[in-house]
Every structure is written in structure tokens, then in C-alpha cells.
């Protein structure tokens, strides 16, 4: 098993054109084995681009292909509308990797989904995507660094550290059920708790690796959830122990002000929740490997 996406997931690429990021990444996802069933572009309906059938709208693509998921990598000014279009068309799982969407647009799109399309889950924006190794890869993660077969689920707020986490486990011969990059934007569609709950419910996932970073209070909330609602072991790393306060480090998420949102506060909260907390990604991988080996 895996969470959110598997071998039956049918993906439509929104905003596809011969020069689009969506085509580039979509073809890579398709080559990995993901069922990419079509693309959308209001000006190119009826065309075929590199073997991918193009529809004028997501609604048409859903009708013609039975698409269940969508992949959005269109520029920031069109991304929020693309999210709402997919949800309105009945797409159940939307992956949006677009970086740089205004926070106001994100807040609006998120709340529209919650209120008008509660059946839709959004992953991102500004995330690397999701991979269920051997089954489905939506986004920019390199399939080479993932290993199929479980038993570890990964959830991460940071892009390159998601790859690092996969790499640390795969190198030790430990596979993953699903690796979810939730992204570092202010209004993420899917958060740590959504993923932790899904991993807890997934029979094939036996342990979870969590990568957080400074800023906000999502890690603290996740710690509370782990303490109260999880039976499976968790190993975690929080990036930014040495980050100077009050500075934005690339992501909107990675900012600390005052004592709130520091890596130390997050690590303390996770520690108190019984999580194996590591000082760096490598140590986190080692702790996860030890946990998995101890599962017998």
C-alpha cells in the first residue's frame, strides 16, 4: 500500500505546451511508470504533444480519461486558478509545485477547496511532489533515489532534504511506501498531520521519517498528534538549528521570529512526543534504519 497515490492513479498535466515545465516533468513521471493520461491547455485542445493527448480543460480531460490526479507547474499568476479548476472538475488529488504564488491567492484557493470541494486534496504549492516508489511519481523527485517495497513513509517540508531523506534510506536498502514533500509555503494544502494520519492508517507503512524546518508551528502540532494518535515509530530532523533569527531563508516557511518556531523548540516538542530526533539528515537516516531493523 501507499498513501494518496498508487499504480491506479491517473494524472493529467495542467497547462501543457511543448516548452512548459509541466511537459518536462510530466514526461519524466511518465517514464517512471506513472499513468499520465493527458494534459490540458485551452488553446491546444485536440493536439498531441510528445504522445500526451491535450484537452481544452480539466473537466474535459476527466470526462475523456477518468483522470483522478492533476499536476500543476504553471507560473504563479495562473496557479491558484488552476488549482480551483482541477478541484471543480472533480480531481481528487492535486500536486502543485509552483513556487512564488502570492500568499493571498494561496489562502483564497485553500479555503475554496475546503468549503466548496472537500473531496479534493491539494499537495503544495511550492513542493517537490509525491512518489510511491514503483507505482506513481508526480512532481520533480528523481525516481532513481527511491526504493520500492516499504516499510518507511517519509514526509518533508523541504525540497532537497526530501531527496536527502530518500537517499539516506535507499542507500541502506530500506524502501519507502510513499514520500510526500508538503512544501514550505505559508498555506500548504496538505500538512504533516494529514500525512502522519495517512501513514498511521496504511498497513504497509511500519515507521515514519519526518523532515521539518524552522518557522511556524506545524512541527509542534505534529508532535502533539504523534503523542496522542500514532502507534508507529517516528524519526525526525528539523533543519535550521543554527539559523539566525528574523531572517527569511529562501522559503516563506523558513523564518523564525523571537523564540517561536525555532528548531530547538520543535526538536524538544518532538522529543517529548517520543520521536527519535536527529541532529542532521544522516543521523536521521541512521535512526530510521535502526528502528526498521528493530521491527523484526
Amino acid at each position: 500500500m501507499s498513501i494518496f497515490v498508487d499504480e491506479t492513479t491517473k494524472v493529467v498535466i495542467q497547462g501543457i505546451s511543448p516548452t512548459s515545465q509541466g511537459l518536462f516533468h510530466g514526461l519524466r513521471n511518465k517514464a517512471y511508470g506513472t499513468k499520465v493520461v493527458g494534459g490540458t491547455n485551452p488553446k491546444r485542445g485536440g493536439e498531441t504533444i510528445e504522445g500526451i493527448a491535450v484537452y481544452a480543460s480539466v473537466a474535459e480531460a476527466v470526462k475523456e480519461t477518468g483522470a483522478t490526479a492533476s499536476f500543476i507547474s504553471v507560473p504563479p499568476r495562473g496557479a491558484a486558478d488552476a488549482i480551483v479548476e482541477a478541484a471543480a472538475a472533480g480531481i481528487a488529488f492535486i500536486v502543485c509545485i509552483t513556487e512564488g504564488i502570492p500568499a493571498q491567492d494561496e489562502a483564497l484557493a485553500y479555503n475554496r477547496l475546503v468549503q466548496e470541494f472537500p473531496g479534493t486534496r491539494l499537495l503544495g504549492p511550492n513542493c517537490p511532489g509525491i512518489i510511491s516508489p514503483g507505482k506513481c511519481n508526480i512532481g520533480i523527485t528523481s525516481g532513481d533515489i527511491a526504493l520500492a517495497g516499504g516499510p518507511v513513509g517519509i514526509v518533508s517540508r523541504s525540497g532537497t532534504l526530501t531527496y536527502q531523506a530518500l537517499h539516506e534510506l535507499s542507500q541502506q536498502g530500506i524502501g519507502q511506501t510513499t514520500c510526500v514533500g508538503i512544501g514550505g509555503d505559508p498555506v500548504p494544502g496538505t500538512n504533516f498531520i494529514d500525512c502522519l494520519a495517512a501513514f498511521e492508517a496504511d498497513p504497509e507503512t511500519k515507521a515514519v521519517m519526518m523532515i521539518g524546518e524552522i518557522g511556524g508551528s506545524e512541527e509542534e502540532r505534529a508532535a502533539e498528534f504523534i503523542a496522542n494518535s500514532m502507534t508507529k515509530p517516528v524519526a525526525a530532523y528539523v533543519a535550521g538549528v543554527t539559523a539566525p533569527p528574523g531572517r527569511k531563508m529562501g522559503h516563506a516557511g523558513a523564518i523564525i521570529s523571537g523564540s517561536q518556531g525555532t528548531a530547538q523548540a520543535k526538536m524538544d516538542a518532538l522529543n517529548a512526543a517520543g520521536v527519535a530526533v536527529a541532529q542532521n539528515p544522516t543521523e536521521c537516516g541512521e535512526k530510521m534504519v535502526a528502528i526498521v531493523k528493530g521491527l523484526g
Binding site: Q104, P128, L161, Q164, T242, P244, R247
Partner: protein, 381 residues
């Protein structure tokens, strides 16, 4: 992007939020002219993007032209926590009956907007939040609904603002909400929001942080970007080159792809007993130009003793990064040795490309921890 007080006030004024009459001055003469226009008495306020201006002598009341001349002369050029005052805001001094606090920002856990209103303004709101949290009336706002006049009226009642201030405050809050939403602010804060003895409510200060992601739809923001108040010369140069760079105090220069990996690199350098000279995320497309620019900026920092390059290729192919490093080293004469860690897509090809160029000045280590330890050792040698 944080705005100066005067920019924040001018931004407020666009949305109909009342502010004191005033203007900017870069010289004593301009200050005198602005004071005449605003009407005495005036307040002479240093424009710097750092807190604690008042305590540092950057805010003074002036009753007449002689006092404006004196204070403007003293404040211009004043160093406030490393920020040298180049500009003043001169405004008509307000009589204050009461000081309130009002702000809008994003409530991340609830993914809605959050309004904060308090009848106890004029002091640090963080302090009020600790000592007297009940004095802050919070209001969660659904972005699909917005802040209605009715909700604003209930809110000012709940915050227990003085009765004579409530109607004006409610109107002002709706306008501040529009400024926050349509103006694409991460934060729109007024502290203090004042009630005058004549019964007028207006903004006496302005703290505005704009959402950089919305720059594309705000051509009027261009003037704000021209003077961003940056004080670290390294950061100025890095910004000109379009790099995501933050200057720090250590001796190990850092280059990594991705903000998370860059932060993590800082962490492991510290754990290895060293200290990072900077945070630098070269992002996804780490081609030769970006790598050369990154190496140039770090090379120009005299405190740097070694450089740690930490790359995990995803979409970015490591062989392209390696090619970039080779080209960059050909262009930039480096005064510090470089330690690299290269993993991910095409890492084998990338390491093979670099093999012919390796020396005691250009080193590849197999893991992030090994690379950090080596870079720290070189920095301390």
C-alpha cells in the same frame, strides 16, 4: 519586503487610512520645508528598518524651525544599530488621548486571515500578549468572506475601544483589511492607532511587510525596491547577482541547492565545530553562471577560510553542476580551498568530470558530514 514607516504610511493613504500630514526630508532644508507644510509642532522621525528608534534618539518633537534644524541635523547620519539614517519623516505632532493596536496577518495554523485589535496600544504587542492576553481581541477572517462592516463593528466593541472611537475605528479597520488583501501585505500593522482629544482616529505609525511573491502585480512597488535598507555589503552584492544569500559571522563559506539543504549544511558545519560565513541557496538551475556568481560573492568575503559546496541533484543534474564548478573556477581566482559533496541525479558522471581537476584546493568528499568536517578543518588550519 519591509517598508520604511513613511512608505507604509503612504501605502496606507492609498487605501484611505487617515495618517498625520507630513512628508520626507533628506536634508535639514527639506525638513524645514516639510515642517512648514505640516504645521508646527512637528515630530522628526528617523527612517530606518530597525526597532528602538526612539531610545536611540531618532524621534524628536520640534516646536519651531530652530528645533527642527537642531534635531534634523542630529538625526541625519545617526547610526542606529548599524543603520545610518539618510531620510527623515516630518509630520504634524498629534495630541494623543488613547493609543490602540491593530494588525492583519496570516493565521498559519488556521489558514485564514487574523486580525488583532487592542485598546492597549503604543507598547510592544508581544509584551501585551504575554502579560495581558485578554487585552487583545483576535478575529479570524475567512478570505472568501472578508471583513464586513458589521464584523468590524462587533470587533471594536469586543476590543472595548473608547465609545467615541468605535465607528471611525471600524471603518479604518475595513480599509486596513483592504490594504492587507489587495495590497498583498504579509503584515499590515498600526501601533499606535490613536484617538485624539478632538475625537479623531488615525494611524500614528505604520509597519508594512509586502509579499515579495506578489511583486509582479504591483508595479508601484518598484520605488520601494530601490532602497531596501540593506546594510551588509556582502548581501548587497549577492542581491545584485540575484542570489539568495544571508551573511553570517563564521569562516566556512556555504553553497547549497535548496533552502532546506542549505540550512542543514549550516547545521552540520556547526556540529563539526565550525561556523558558517553565510547562507546561500543557488536553487534549482545551478549552471556555471550561477555557480560563478556564488563563488565570487563568497570569495569577496575576507572572513572566509574554506568553501563548502553541498549539492543534491534532483532535477538539477550533478554533471551540469560539476561543469559549472569547473567553468566557475576558471573564471574566479579563489583564495580559499573548496570542499564538495555531490549526490543525486548523475552524481557519478559529475564526480568523473571533476576528477581531473581535483587537488588540495578542490576536494570531493563522499558524504555531507565528511565534507563539513573537512571544510571546518581547512577553515581552522
Amino acid at each position: 519586503m519591509d517598508l520604511y514607516e513613511y512608505q507604509g504610511k503612504q501605502y496606507f493613504a492609498r487605501f484611505g487610512i487617515p495618517i498625520s500630514p507630513g512628508g520626507v526630508a533628506d536634508t535639514v532644508e527639506e525638513a524645514l520645508a516639510q515642517a512648514d507644510a505640516a504645521g508646527y509642532p512637528v515630530v522628526v522621525k528617523a527612517q530606518v528598518k530597525v526597532g528602538g528608534r526612539g531610545k536611540a534618539g531618532g524621534v524628536k518633537l520640534a516646536a519651531d524651525a530652530d528645533e527642527v534644524r537642531l534635531h534634523a541635523g542630529n538625526i541625519l547620519g545617526l547610526d542606529i544599530k548599524g543603520h545610518v539614517v539618510k531620510r527623515l519623516w516630518i509630520e504634524h505632532a498629534s495630541d494623543i488621548a488613547k493609543e490602540y493596536y491593530a494588525s492583519f496577518t496570516l493565521d498559519r495554523p488556521h489558514k485564514m486571515h487574523l486580525g488583532m485589535l487592542s485598546a492597549e496600544g503604543g507598547v510592544e504587542i508581544e509584551e501585551v500578549a504575554v502579560t495581558n492576553p485578554d487585552a487583545i481581541a483576535l478575529l479570524q477572517i475567512d478570505p472568501l468572506v472578508g471583513l464586513t462592516e458589521e464584523a468590524a463593528r462587533e470587533w471594536v466593541d469586543r476590543a472595548a475601544l473608547d465609545p467615541e472611537a468605535r465607528a471611525q475605528a471600524a471603518t479604518l479597520l475595513v480599509r486596513l483589511y483592504h490594504c492587507y488583501v489587495e495590497g498583498d501585505c504579509d503584515l499590515a500593522e498600526i501601533n499606535p492607532l490613536i484617538l485624539t482629544p478632538e475625537g479623531k482616529v488615525h494611524a500614528l505609525d505604520a509597519k508594512v511587510t509586502l509579499d515579495d511573491n506578489a511583486t509582479y502585480r504591483h508595479p508601484e512597488w518598484e520605488e520601494y525596491a530601490a532602497d531596501d535598507g540593506e546594510v551588509d555589503p556582502r548581501e548587497k552584492v549577492a542581491k545584485e547577482k540575484g542570489l539568495n544569500y544571508i551573511g553570517l559571522a563564521g569562516s566556512v563559506g556555504i553553497i547549497a541547492n535548496g533552502a532546506g539543504l542549505a540550512m542543514s549544511t549550516l547545521d552540520v558545519v556547526t556540529q563539526a565545530g565550525g561556523a558558517a560565513a553565510n547562507f546561500l541557496d543557488i536553487g534549482g538551475g545551478a549552471n556555471a553562471d550561477v555557480m560563478a556568481a556564488a563563488l565570487e560573492v563568497i570569495n569577496a568575503d575576507p572572513a572566509v577560510r574554506s568553501i563548502l559546496v553541498n549539492i543534491f541533484g534532483g532535477i538539477t543534474r550533478v554533471d551540469e553542476v560539476a561543469q559549472g564548478i569547473i567553468e566557475a573556477i576558471g573564471r574566479v581566482k579563489l583564495s580559499s580551498p573548496v570542499v564538495m559533496r555531490l549526490d543525486g541525479t548523475n552524481a557519478t558522471e559529475g564526480r568523473a568530470l571533476l576528477a581531473a581537476h581535483l587537488s588540495d584546493r578542490l576536494i570531493v568528499e563522499p558524504t555531507m558530514l565528511d565534507a563539513a568536517r573537512h571544510a571546518v578543518a581547512l577553515a581552522q588550519a
